[in-house]
Symmetry: C2
Subunit: 363 residues, 2 copies
């Protein structure tokens, strides 16, 4: 309930009576309730946190029992026919006059309905961006430990499967073997759909694994992550079966140099764009600027993609105990791609790389 | 481009100049572009369909190549720094004066930004619910065939794994074996996370598989589906290892009776609530009304949950060539649950059950 108290203090400071939380990662972070949302318009529940007293978890009958088991300290309320009829009763009972909602993670149509309901009860609605994300971005020591375990397990899976890869294996078979090994080792699930992109498919940074064989001599991008105790890992390796061609080695070294330059620039007090720029300039100066289209990195925690961003647009200063990926890549249509991704803990003096795996240095 | 023409005709009828599509299933339905959205605020792209001429697919560099390969007939445009700067150029160039957007699947914060941009260019914004969903709800003959193949493959997977289940197997192992078999047989992926809920866990309609063993004598709910050629299947079986207890058999028969009653009520021209009511009353009359908390069924197609709904609130009349699940269940805290789910094609004279599997009649 430590986190709930922080939220309630923040509500009081901003003269708000309650906040409604529907973003699934925020919901899990605050309550421990771990049900998935199939899509944003099939929510498995909402938190209603008043400025004082016990918080509520509002869900439907599919999840009532799970909510009771997982969300310690919450009052569980089950709605039939959607959230709004329940709020219609609950908000006046709690004497809510100013209600905050997550304006960055709520459907436009839902806000229209909520506005109508609040008008009826003379409740003022206040959109808040990042009310909870702000808490999540700096990790606690316990969270850092959980993320570390997630990274190490992810690496163990990769190292188990890597020696078994053969040129005639397909991308999808390889992805399956990795995901099966994740679960066999105790992961809850992959943190995203495993990417295995061989040869020319590697030119698509977010390729879907298919019937393409891994082949020899060309880089195979393997981007994988898992969820362990609710915390994500995210790692990319580019591996080559057989003897790499000279061009492959050159591009590989360039991407690795960009990564190391980014890591060197990473520390509390610098902005995300500065770190991105440090790594990007290595690739640009070698003439591959147009072949590195995505940003350098992103935060990782309960969500596999979260704040902060290491991108050309992110002006915010990084702080100690944030966790980010550092993942430059070069993608060439018709040839393929190379991406290298590690996860780092930002510290006051620099950063600490969680990854122990050095597979990508073999070249 | 048949579907695009339907959309354009609709735009002209409603005096709209273009529609912006971000809902991933709608995007796939219209364009063939199959990239996933990790979450609603990490879109992999948008369609911009003008009232005449070639439609656009707007995406970022991670997906440009995939878009070119998959979205035949679309002009692919890559944005940097998000959708809005690109729209800022594109909308005036296309002389858009009235722009429709998906009000039911767009974030509130995005609408705020879009409103600002449109005001600048004197563009009128019009929220539309179900602009594309309306097309998707009635299936073409080709779609019906694809759904049938998806259902049959899903059943084949279930029948392959069922005889191998042992009482000491855990829920999660079982779920993994089912999902692996799906992929081994050529499915793209599960259409949702496979549910295997043994004994008391079966009381949670959407339980997450864990370390619980399957056990003997009590029902095990297996709710599984896969995606094959972009189309979903969804099926639930409740199976028992060893000899079922008398109470189990009674509840089983009751759920099956409710399902058959629902199936009998299902036909073009009746409303979703009428079908729901027919099945629900069987369970209510036996005194288990409070133990069947969810609705009777939902549409299935590109999305595993889509229109129409068979629920107490759905007044809309069903039409021929809609595809729905029929899935009553009884859930008893501390004991477990039984759910039986088949998929049906609505016809003018009744319905056709896609499922061939009769496993649940073995009892």
């Amino acid at each position: 309930m430590e986190k709930i108290k922080l939220v309630q203090a923040r509500l009081r400071r901003r003269k708000l009576d309650a906040v409604l939380i529907g973003q699934p990662d925020n919901r899990l972070y605050l309550s421990g309730f771990n049900a998935p949302d199939y899509t944003i318009n099939e929510s498995s529940g909402f938190l209603l946190i008043p400025r004082a007293g016990q918080p509520f978890l509002l869900t439907d009958s599919r999840y009532t029992l799970q909510a009771r088991q997982e969300a310690a300290g919450f009052k569980i309320r089950t709605y039939k026919g959607g959230l709004l009829p329940l709020l219609n009763k609950l908000l006046p009972r709690l004497a809510v006059k100013r209600l905050a909602f997550e304006s960055h993670y709520i459907l436009y149509s839902q806000v229209l309905r909520l506005t109508k309901l609040c008008r009826k009860h003379h409740i003022e609605l206040q959109g808040c961006e990042n009310f909870i994300e702000r808490l999540r971005v700096v990790k606690s020591q316990r969270e850092i430990e959980l993320i570390r375990q997630s990274v190490l397990l992810n690496e163990a899976v990769f190292q188990e499967i890597l020696p078994t890869l053969r040129p005639h294996d397909t991308e999808i078979e390889t992805a399956m073997r990795l995901e099966n090994a994740m679960r066999a080792h105790g992961a809850e699930r992959p943190s995203f759909e495993t990417i295995v992109a061989a040869g020319p498919n590697g030119a698509k940074p977010h390729a879907t694994p298919g019937q393409q064989q891994l082949g020899e001599g060309l880089p195979i991008i393997i981007d994988m992550g898992l969820i362990l105790n609710n915390y994500c890992s995210d790692m990319t390796r580019s591996v080559i079966l057989g003897t790499p061609k000279t061009r492959t080695v050159e591009i590989f070294r360039l991407v690795r140099k960009a990564q190391l330059t980014g890591i060197k620039a990473l520390r509390a007090g610098v902005s995300g764009r500065e770190v991105d720029k440090a790594a990007r300039s290595v690739i640009s100066q070698a003439g591959f600027g147009d072949n590195f289209g995505h940003s350098l990195g992103h935060g990782v925690g309960i969500a596999v993609h979260e704040e902060p961003r290491l991108s050309p647009g992110s002006r915010k200063k990084l702080a100690a105990d944030m966790v980010v990926t550092v993942e430059p890549g070069i993608y060439i249509e018709g040839w393929g791609g190379v991406r290298l991704e590690n996860m780092a803990l930002v510290t006051d003096s620099g950063c600490e790389i969680f990854n122990q795996d050095r597979t990508f240095l073999d070249i």
